[in-house]
């Protein structure tokens, strides 16, 4: 059975029916990309999975457990981590404190090791560990958000546009990190505007259009799909 | 696209209509009831205070809802207006024998004085943010109260006499103390009427709604939503903040006059923190930025404790519970769903109507 199974979820913002019967699954160890235009509902999907938004009907199952109506913090404790859109770092806390918050669900003695790991990946964060996160530059905040998510050693990682605002050098870096994390056994659900890059590291992909899944398949197939090339890859 | 725009415009028009409609219909009903004798003294006595509170709520909504700054000292401006109004009517008692005219003049003077107070308070206060601003408005409200409390103002043939802390002047023959320190004002000639109250509400509504639906109002709301962005598109944030604050203060001043001229006695202590809070409750319960909501909430919440008199000892306890319940209901998912359903219906109707028009 799939690690994460989303079945027929429907989400509304007031009158706006943002997700219509969205279903997809993510298997253990996979990298799955979710692509779609602005406003397609990608962020909404991730929010619903981690319990920040309620779904009307449908179910979300994580490792066999029904988490549809679980509060967000309980879902996170099950081993899910989410890098939200817009980074959402704790602006008033320092970089180091932000990272520690990421490891909130983990025993204290394991934290130093993870901190080291994150600092190795993002040396800039170590330089700035006592700076208030709110004063970091956009890209630095993005690194922090990613680092914070890694601190929880999740079994599944949900990424909402992790490359946004990063320099080309760092975009490459981030995708490398995602691959590494995935190799280390973490399952990844990736939302990206940079569909080409995303599909190139993903195993499978889903295409979301105005709240509906319109296409799915192996990432390599999607990369070669003409309509997708035209709509999302800019070729 | 045109459909959407017309929908927005019609919504705005509807809100305006709703505001004026509520007030005018309420006025007609009440007048009819008075003519028919079907209204109790209790309700009759409440009419003017309700009008004053409605104006207070509308004006505070300008600060809290439209400008987005929490003010905990709005009663201070009401106080300034109340005393300015009393002094004006006392001085003009002979010059303008026609009471409604005298009241109107007093209101204008009161509005002016409150506006000046608004400037004095606003210039320093509006440099602060959030709860710091709130506490400073509270502080100013208390300072105004404290100052009026030690103010002595008398009128005799030689003109007005004024002193602070101690009454250090003697009035000539036939002189009269207008404001007598902590004892406040006694023996006010009551000239506020329900009609004058409703007129003041209508005037306030006219100006406030115009203000909101104008370039100036948009600028104020832009400052509320994002100060930095407003700055970046060339809006002087401090100027517009002050403008909204002063307009709001001016109407509070007029409400103060209306209020004061309805009772034979007024003290500074009436316009304290609790009154400021009361008006804030009206505004929040009616909905931030929602003008007709303020009107309804102010009227309802002024009536409520009176209607609860039958509960004797439990009156204020029940009032508190009702207040909490109303707040909870106002923000409950239940109400949100109700509103959504209504909006859905309206949208459908608009679509249908639009479709017909296009079809025709």
């Amino acid at each position: 059975m799939a690690m994460l199974e989303v079945k027929d979820i429907n989400v509304y913002y007031g009158l706006i029916h943002a997700l219509r019967d969205v279903s997809f699954e993510v298997n253990e160890g996979e990298v799955v990309a979710l692509i779609g235009a602005n406003g397609a509902g990608k962020t909404t999907t991730l929010h619903t999975v981690t319990g920040l938004l309620p779904s009307k009907g449908g179910t979300v199952t994580f490792e066999g457990k029904d988490i549809t109506h679980k509060p967000g913090h309980a879902i996170v404790k099950l081993g899910m981590s989410h890098v939200p859109e817009g980074r959402r770092v704790f602006a008033g806390l320092t970089v180091a404190e932000n990272l520690r918050m990421g490891a909130y669900t983990r025993p204290k003695n394991e934290i130093p090791e993870s901190l080291k790991m994150v600092y190795e990946r993002f040396p800039r964060l170590e330089e700035r560990k006592n700076q208030a996160a709110g004063t970091l530059s956009g890209g630095e905040q993005q690194m922090l958000a990613m680092g914070r998510a890694l601190m929880s050693k999740p079994r599944i990682l949900l990424l909402d546009e992790p490359s946004m605002g990063l320099s080309p050098l760092f975009v490459g870096e981030i995708f490398k990190i995602i691959e590494e994390v995935s190799k280390a056994g973490t399952t990844v659900l990736l939302v990206e505007q940079n569909a080409k890059k995303a599909l190139s590291i993903a195993d499978r992909g889903y295409v979301l259009e105005t709240g509906k899944i319109v296409k799915t398949g192996k990432a390599s197939d999607l990369l070669n799909d003409d309509s997708i090339k035209k709509a999302y890859l800019g070729e | 696209m045109n459909k959407l725009k017309s929908y927005a415009a019609s919504k705005r028009g509807r809100d305006t209509l709703l505001c004026f409609g509520i007030v005018i219909i309420a006025y007609i009903i009440v007048q009819a009831a008075i003519a028919g004798g079907g209204i109790s003294s209790q309700i009759k006595g409440l009419l003017v205070p309700i009008c004053a509170y409605v104006v207070m709520a509308i004006s505070l909504n300008l600060t809290v809802g439209i400008l987005g700054e929490l003010s905990l000292g709005h009663a201070g401006f009401m106080s300034v207006g109340a005393f300015a109004g009393i002094v004006t009517t006392t001085c003009l008692a002979d010059a303008i024998p026609l009471a409604p005219l005298r009241l109107a003049v007093a209101m204008v003077v009161a509005g002016l004085f409150a506006a000046i107070a608004g400037v004095i308070v606003g210039v320093p206060v509006l440099r602060l943010k959030g709860d710091y601003l709130a506490i400073v408005t509270l502080a100013f409200g208390e300072i105004i109260k404290n100052l009026v409390n030690v103010m002595y103002l008398g009128l005799d043939d030689a003109g007005l006499h004024f002193s602070l802390v101690n009454q250090n002047f003697q009035l000539g023959d036939g002189g009269k103390m207008i404001i007598n320190g902590p004892i406040g004002v006694s023996g006010v000639t009551k000239i506020s009427t329900f009609t004058s109250g409703v007129v003041l509400i209508l005037v306030t509504l006219f100006f406030v709604l115009n203000f909101v639906n104008s370039r100036t109002g948009r600028a104020v709301m832009a400052v509320r939503d994002n100060k930095i962005a407003a700055d970046s598109i060339g809006i002087s944030t401090s100027h517009y903040k002050l403008l909204a604050f002063v307009v709001s203060a001016a109407f509070a001043g007029m409400a103060g006059t209306l209020y004061a001229m309805n009772f034979s006695t007024v003290t500074a202590a009436k316009f304290d923190f609790n009154t400021s809070i009361l008006v804030l409750v009206f505004v929040v319960l009616g909905g931030l930025g929602n003008i007709w909501g303020s009107i309804v909430a102010a009227a309802l919440l002024t009536l409520l404790p009176e209607l609860l008199r039958g509960l004797s000892n439990y009156r204020m306890l029940i009032y508190a519970i009702l207040l909490i319940v109303m707040m909870l209901f106002n923000n409950s998912s239940f109400k949100v769903r109700l509103l959504e359903k209504r909006a859905m219906r309206q949208m459908e109707k608009a679509e249908k109507a639009g479709g017909k028009k296009e079809g025709a």
Binding site: G138, E235 | L4, R224, N226, A230
Partner: protein, 252 residues
């Protein structure tokens, strides 16, 4: 004389020298890019140009006029408009009203007219509506004119911000990562839109962007910042093949 002249601009935050000795010249009608690694000081430079931060050293001149020490709204009136890296819309206002607010200093009427809705109020408001809708159409936002700005998806919010900035009728438009959160197709569209806007409204554009396709596709000239200092400048071709830039910024 160049339209915008920046001379050895600098600012510090605590011990951190965020921008140092930055000099730039932008000619009227130009489309110039400002690029550099994360945390290089690009946004900070924008903030100094628009008066959000006051630089500790250096000068900024727009058409010969000194901008240092001026308040943000004054600088806007002099003809500089911007967008923000972290989107800043008037979230509770409608999309249309966001743009109309941008027209604040363009189509004006007095406070008395605001209060009485007399005089030219109606005429001016109509003008505003028309002008705003025209701008929205450029960005394909006319369909959502009545939405609350907060409810737009990310990409549309970015476009709305540009439309609002344009409404102030700027001489110089500063765009901070306009393509962030857009997919390649949308980026493509945006590039076209920027071109159209530049032609139609005659604005000079300075933009920050990490999307090299956009940068090399439309920018005529580039400045590269690194650790607050200018690392390189020149045409995209020159700059993007500069080994130092490659090493510090592009990678590979």
């Amino acid at each position: 004389m160049a339209m915008l002249e920046v001379t050895s601009l600098g600012i510090s935050f605590g011990g951190l020298r965020a921008v140092d000795e930055l000099s730039m010249k932008i000619e009227k009608g130009g489309l110039v890019g400002l690029i550099g690694p994360n945390g290089a000081g690009k946004t900070t430079a924008f903030n100094m140009l628009t008066g959000v931060y006051r630089p500790t050293d250096g000068g900024i001149r727009l058409d010969g006029q000194n901008l240092i020490g001026k308040k943000p709204h004054e600088i806007c009136k002099l003809g500089v408009a911007r967008t923000f890296q972290n989107i800043r819309l008037f979230s509770q206002l409608s999309v249309l009203d966001n743009v109309k607010t941008g027209l604040h200093n363009q189509i004006t009427y007095s406070f008395a007219e605001s209060m009485f809705h007399l005089g030219s109020y109606r005429k001016k408001e109509k003008q505003m509506d028309e002008k705003a809708m025209e701008l929205l159409r450029v960005f394909d936002l006319d369909g959502v004119a009545d939405y609350k700005a907060a409810n737009l998806p990310y990409g549309k919010q970015r476009k709305l911000e540009i439309a609002r900035a344009l409404a102030t009728n700027p001489k110089l438009l500063l765009l901070d990562e306009p393509a962030a959160g857009m997919n390649p197709n949308e980026t493509e569209e945006l590039m076209e839109t920027i071109e159209i806007v530049r032609k139609r409204f005659g604005v000079t554009v300075l933009l920050i962007e990490h999307d090299m396709k956009l940068v090399s596709g439309i920018c005529e000239y580039l400045y590269v910042l690194n650790f607050g200092r200018l690392l390189a400048e020149g045409t995209p071709k020159e700059v993007l093949s500069n080994p130092e830039v490659v090493k510090a910024y592009l990678g590979e």
